[in-house]
């Protein structure tokens, strides 16, 4: 406990002179337990809202209003709710889900490919203008969304690209952070000696990339893919302005529209349970992806986020 307090309030105090710290080192258990309790309490802050969402998804509309948020309702309505979610509006929810997978999957795959090629070039080749080009691509992170989305909308409009999937996918192909991650990852993962050996063997630069480097870059690519996937899966602003046909919406725009309708319309109260269940369903795929792939993205990040 004393450790925790020191850590939070007097971070500069050397704990070697702190008797409590000494005793903790000889018996690590005591600090251990209190720290664990605190950390699990913090976890509750992150988990409880989602737990509420999942429980709310099992309630019908009257239980939603009449029973406590963290207890189950009188009637277990999850299956009815799911049926409502997927059948409402001729199955529009499924359509939105497919759109989301399509837009996010294509964007993330494209962004990963471009970032891998560029990051590899920055890490393993020296050429005129390399540092300048790298700085320019990173500076792009600071451009606000609207400064880009607005003119992009106008340009796409004149090319008749608005209200098509391309309007959402094309702007999502640029991932400066992905280039940064891949540069750092490639610098570490691919030894220069390996490239030299391939060159001595007479392999061209592209053959070396495809046959030697790509495999070594795979964990970094999974990381970039996942983060690009989240960015475009969760994007609301871009599809909101680019698309105006409901059947083209991704989940974010569709759900937000349903929510607005349920909040505004007194007569359509039944929609509350539908929107809540739809939200709960939309959360599941990415959470599963992160849990299943955690080994990859954590190793990809640990070399990526850190190095100077």
């Amino acid at each position: 406990m004393s450790t925790l307090k020191t850590l939070r309030t007097r971070p500069g105090v050397p704990s070697a002179t702190d008797p409590a710290a000494r005793s903790r080192r000889s018996s690590p258990r005591s600090g251990h337990r209190l720290l664990s309790v605190l950390l699990w309490l913090v976890a509750a802050y992150f988990v409880l809202p989602l737990l509420w969402l999942l429980i709310a998804a099992t309630k019908d509309n009257s239980d939603l209003f009449s029973t406590f948020g963290f207890s189950f309702g009188h009637h277990f309505a999850l299956w009815d709710n799911l049926h409502d979610v997927f059948s409402a509006g001729d199955g529009i929810f499924l359509r939105w889900s497919v759109n989301t997978v399509l837009y996010a999957g294509t964007s993330a795959a494209g962004a990963t490919l471009l970032a891998t090629l560029a990051g590899y070039a920055f890490a393993k080749y020296r050429f005129a203008g390399d540092r300048l080009l790298f700085s320019i691509s990173l500076g792009a992170v600071m451009i606000p969304l609207t400064a880009l989305a607005l003119p992009t909308y106008l340009l796409f409009n004149s090319l008749a690209l608005t209200n098509t999937p391309w309007a959402v996918i094309l702007p999502s192909l640029v991932s400066p952070f992905g280039v940064y991650l891949m540069r750092v990852y490639a610098a570490d993962a691919i030894p220069d000696s390996l490239l030299e050996a391939a060159r001595v063997d007479g392999a061209g630069e592209f053959r070396t990339f495809v046959q030697v480097s790509l495999r070594l870059l795979a964990p970094g690519m999974v990381t970039v893919f996942l983060f690009a996937l989240v960015a475009s899966w969760n994007n609301y602003f871009l599809p909101l302005i680019m698309l105006n046909t409901s059947s083209l919406y991704p989940l974010t725009v569709g759900l937000a529209q349903q929510q607005a309708a349920s909040a505004a319309g007194g007569g359509s109260q039944a929609l509350f349970s539908t929107v809540i269940t739809g939200s709960a369903v939309s959360v599941v795929p990415l959470v599963v992806a992160f849990v299943v792939l955690q080994r990859f993205w954590q190793s990809g990040l640990s070399s990526g986020s850190v190095k100077e």
Binding site: P49, L113, A118, F127, L255, A263, L286, F290
Partner: protein
């Protein structure tokens, strides 16, 4: 535009003195590797940005059409109370929410890295899960939690016969928004810092431990300086994210229409100008100014860091 400390990597090896045919061939290959990214970069970033800058110099009127007005839109924005209030609101957000979020993330990262917590692997994942929740869904969910109809907060107060505080009122909604953003991004920042912590050589920490440095001392004198660049990265990303807030005001406006104005955040303001008011020229100027604010603040932060020497 960006600084070299936090984000760039020094060349892995020095440039060779003479350029051979092999060097030229390699440079050509490098340009070809870069080409796809920079073609899309040009088309999706540089051209729209240039077009936006061009648009911001004009004004369109129903009568009289489009005319060149120079910096007039920028001057209007600089004295536009709605825009300035939005920037001020985000400044407050930056001073309050970002330190809480990043301080929390750093504490959690250090605690998990210390190896003293039970179930650290599970905890790490639980903290990170909100990042995978779409911002739209997170905002809707918190909107329900905050709500008076079936929000658990109101239910608890009602159970004790008290009336719940209105967290969606004009005076409180900014704080409620800070909570949503904190909930969404503590885990993300924690993971970036934690990943950096894992790369600190174990011998360094062992040596410190033998010298009698406790956990706190190790964290303060070795670990935090060692992950300086990662911390700067999270600060810069948070500054950028703060000034670009859009989902939260756009969705909370539906349930708190009086508390959230059209200019609640600068990004939301630019959106409303462009797509509701149809004033594309002024919206472009506002968006440009916003980009300038972000660049200047990010630059100042990095300048300070360079001077303090924390990053190196």
């Amino acid at each position: 535009m960006t600084s070299d400390t936090a984000l760039t990597v020094p060349p892995a090896r020095p440039r060779p003195p003479a350029r051979s045919a092999g060097d030229r061939r390699r440079a050509r290959a490098a340009y070809l590797f870069l080409a796809p990214f920079f073609v899309v970069f040009l088309a999706m970033l540089v051209i729209p940005l240039g077009y936006s800058g061009y648009l911001s110099l004009f004004r369109t009127r129903l009568i009289g059409g489009t005319s060149f007005v120079g910096a007039q839109n920028y001057l209007t924005a600089l004295s536009d109370p709605e825009f300035l209030a939005g920037v001020g609101r985000m400044g407050l957000f930056l001073l309050v929410q970002v330190p809480v979020m990043l301080g929390g993330a750093l504490f959690l990262a250090l605690a998990l890295d210390s190896g003293r917590a039970r179930g650290a692997g599970v905890l790490r994942l639980l903290y990170f899960v909100p990042y995978a929740v779409p911002g739209v869904v997170a905002t809707m969910m918190w909107g329900y939690l905050y709500g008076r109809d079936f929000g658990p907060l109101a239910q608890v107060f009602r159970a004790f016969g008290a009336s719940a505080p209105d967290v969606l009122a004009p005076g409180t909604v900014l704080g409620s928004m800070m909570n949503i953003v904190t909930w969404e991004f503590v885990g993300y920042n924690m993971i970036i810092m934690y990943s950096a912590l894992r790369t600190i050589p174990a011998e360094l920490l062992e040596a410190a431990s033998i010298d009698g440095a406790g956990l706190v001392r190790q964290a303060w004198s070795i670990k935090i300086p060692a992950i300086g660049p990662a911390i700067v990265l999270t600060v810069i990303f948070s500054i950028i994210g703060t000034f670009q807030l859009f989902n939260e005001p756009a969705l909370l406006k539906g349930i708190a229409p009086t508390a959230i104005s059209n200019g609640f955040t600068p990004n939301f303001y630019a959106y409303n100008l462009a797509f509701v008011n149809q004033d594309v020229n002024y919206a472009a100027a506002v968006a440009f100014l916003l980009g300038l604010v972000i660049a200047v603040i990010s630059y100042l932060v990095q300048l300070r860091v360079n001077r303090g020497g924390t990053a190196n």
